[in-house]
């Protein structure tokens, strides 16, 4: 009996050992499987270049954090809290930085080499001076410089948050692509703009273009807007159509037509300032002033031309006749091409001339100009 029991116990133990071994082997086999999944899965993920960059960014951030804690890792350096021009002179140690930059084909390539790693205000000034210098050396690459600002803005987002005045003041407002950079920085800052509004106000109030940049994102109170618009109308000029329109809109809203007239009569874009307004609600003289300002620089606004043409303003008629009867590149640039058909439609629909296009139109006008008049009833130019 005992012997039978012993045999049974041994058999049971052997069976248990066998089960345990099988379990261990199963676990190990699963482990190998998971190992292979991890191995292959990671490689498949990192095969994608974008994923590599994402991971690289995480690694860089983690490394920076460790550096801040004073922990150094082998084969990497902790960057000093200042601007660093990464590996600019790889392959040519000792070469002047300006020369290294001069090998690069465009500003975007230069921007890829620049890195803001956080620093103090003096570091910020040095960084912006270098940015400005490389841009100035490439003045003949204006398009490339403009596009490079898209890449530069995210790199200096933290610099912008800490030292916006250094960034804004690093170049004159209308120099190069400076406004483009500021536009990006302000747009990307989002709600941070509101927090810094008071500080930014001092920096942005002196120039209408700067004022517009911040006002579009974080509007100033209406009273302040009108106060600034009054000052700009009398003492400044719009450097671009959007600024022209914004200030004009504020003045029109306050029915300040005297100052709106001054604003429309100034600068390259004065003639564009009424583009967003209901022209029929404005004094006629104001519209004529804006039209003249634009046309005097061959930078007319079709909306104004159309408005005045259809209301018997003779210079507008003459302008359209010139455009449609001559071939003069300096008044028929890309802006004219966009509206060429519309200019022609004005003549076709609102002028009862024998001819409405080409050299024949000019000859017709020359022969009959003293007999051409505006018929207010018919709303058309006629001749008798």
């Amino acid at each position: 009996m005992n012997e039978a029991m012993n045999i049974a116990a041994v058999q049971s133990e052997t069976h248990q050992r066998g089960n345990a071994l099988a379990t261990v082997l199963a676990v190990l086999a699963c482990g190998v499987g998971f190992f292979l999944i991890g191995y292959a899965g990671t490689q498949i993920y990192l095969f994608n270049d974008k994923n590599q960059r994402d991971v690289a960014r995480l690694v860089g951030s983690a490394h920076q954090l460790l550096c801040e804690w004073g922990i150094r890792l082998p084969d990497t350096e902790c960057r000093q809290p200042t601007m660093l021009l990464d590996d600019l002179v790889d392959g040519r140690p000792g070469e002047p930085l300006a020369k290294a930059f001069a090998r690069m084909p465009d500003m975007s390539s230069v921007v890829r080499k620049l890195q803001w790693n956080d620093g103090n205000e003096a570091d910020a000034a040095r960084f912006m001076a270098v940015v400005r210098n490389v841009g100035l050396a490439r003045t003949n690459q204006s398009r490339g410089n403009y596009e490079a600002m898209d890449k530069l803005a995210p790199k200096i987002a933290s610099l912008w948050r800490k030292y916006p005045d250094m960034v804004v003041a690093s170049a004159c407002v209308y120099c190069g692509s400076h406004t483009r950079l500021l536009e990006h920085l302000i747009e990307d800052s989002g709600e941070n703009n509101e927090a810094d509004l008071e500080r930014i106000k001092a920096v942005f109030s002196g120039n209408p273009r700067l004022f517009r940049l911040i006002n579009e994102q974080v509007p100033f109170d209406p009273e302040y807007q009108y106060r600034m618009a009054r000052v700009y109308a009398e003492l400044s000029a719009a450097g671009d159509p959007r600024t022209a329109e914004m200030i004009a809109g504020i003045l029109a809203e306050n029915e300040d037509y005297d100052r709106l007239q001054q604003w429309a009569d100034g600068g390259l874009n004065g003639g564009r300032s009424l583009s967003e307004l209901d022209l029929s609600s404005l004094p006629r003289e104001l519209v004529e002033t804006a039209w003249r300002q634009g046309v005097s620089m061959a930078y007319d606004d079709f909306k104004l031309t159309q408005f005045l043409f259809k209301r018997g303003y003779r210079p507008a008629l003459r302008w359209v006749v010139w455009l449609q009867s001559s071939e003069l590149p300096y008044i028929q640039g890309y802006l004219y091409e966009r509206f060429a058909r519309k200019y022609q439609a004005l003549l076709d629909q609102h002028a009862e001339f024998h001819v409405t296009n080409g050299a024949s139109l000019a000859r017709f006008y020359n022969e009959y100009w003293s007999r051409i008049f505006w018929d207010e009833t018919q709303k058309t130019w006629r001749f008798e």
Binding site: I37, G38, S109, L136, A137, D265, L268, S296, S325, S326
Partner: protein, 340 residues
Amino acid sequence: MQKGIFVAVFVQVVALFVGSAFGFAQYWPDVHQKAFTNVDASGWSNAPVDQKILDDSANIEQILALEPPSPAASAEQWMAFVDAMESIEMGDRHGNSGITTPLLVFYAYIAKHHPETIYHLLETHRLGNRKFSHLVEMGFLPDWPSHVDDAGKRLLQSKSALINRVLEKGEDSARESIKEAFFRLAEQAKGRGKPNLSLSVLRYGMVAMSTDERRRALDLLVDERFDIDPRRVEELMSIEGLDSDRLLSLIRLYAYDNKSMSSYKLLGARLGASGYIQSMLPDLPDNAQQPTNFYCALCGIVIYTDGLVGPPLIEAARRGDVAVEKVTRGKYVLRAGGSQ
């Protein structure tokens, strides 16, 4: 049993982690390169140097070596910093004198932390009006009138300074300041160098002047007490009480032939001088005589004349066969058959 399950799960997790680590290790050189360098795969070290770009660049090492003093540093230390800035090798295209200098940000830095240095540079003529205007425009030097020798003179020459003054003190106060400064400087300018004057600033101040004062101001301009830009005479055209002929005489006094100046011709035509219409006719075909800076001969012809247009006018002008008949001030008729 539970212990066994725990061990089994633990082994799988470790295996997964180890497998991932081995897999990651194969790509570590690529990730490392992306994390710690910005070097493009191609790099530019073997590309040729663009000599023009190099010539137009300042010395970047010198820029990076600039170390501004602390705000508490002495005036001498700040001036030493300015000397260091001014000794930097600049590029061929942009020196350090105007506002296109790459070092402009450092002037902002100085203005922010030690404005006394800026005022000193201003008074010793080491910092020009453009840089001063830029700094004020950017919100630096908020109480500049208290620190410059002649705040009124600065107002007359800098719209940025005036905008700042208007925002700080109000419109009425600013207008009175301009009025006072204008007449004072006009008196001082007799027999001495003519100060520059922004006509848009004068226009702003003229709002605070009586009609007699405005006429007297115009007389002083005609008397060449100031240096003005004839293209800006149009700023005064909206001021009541000013004689158009006197404004025209300002243009004649100050205008000169230069490719950047010709927009004064349109203004002269607007004020009634038919000679300017004649002078614009040769520019009709291509505007090539005066291609820059907002001048368009044809546009002036369109706005201020009637009569001949288009190719026939261009042809007649080429023959010198256009008569300009004045109808009224600012309106003319162009006819064929007259000599230029």
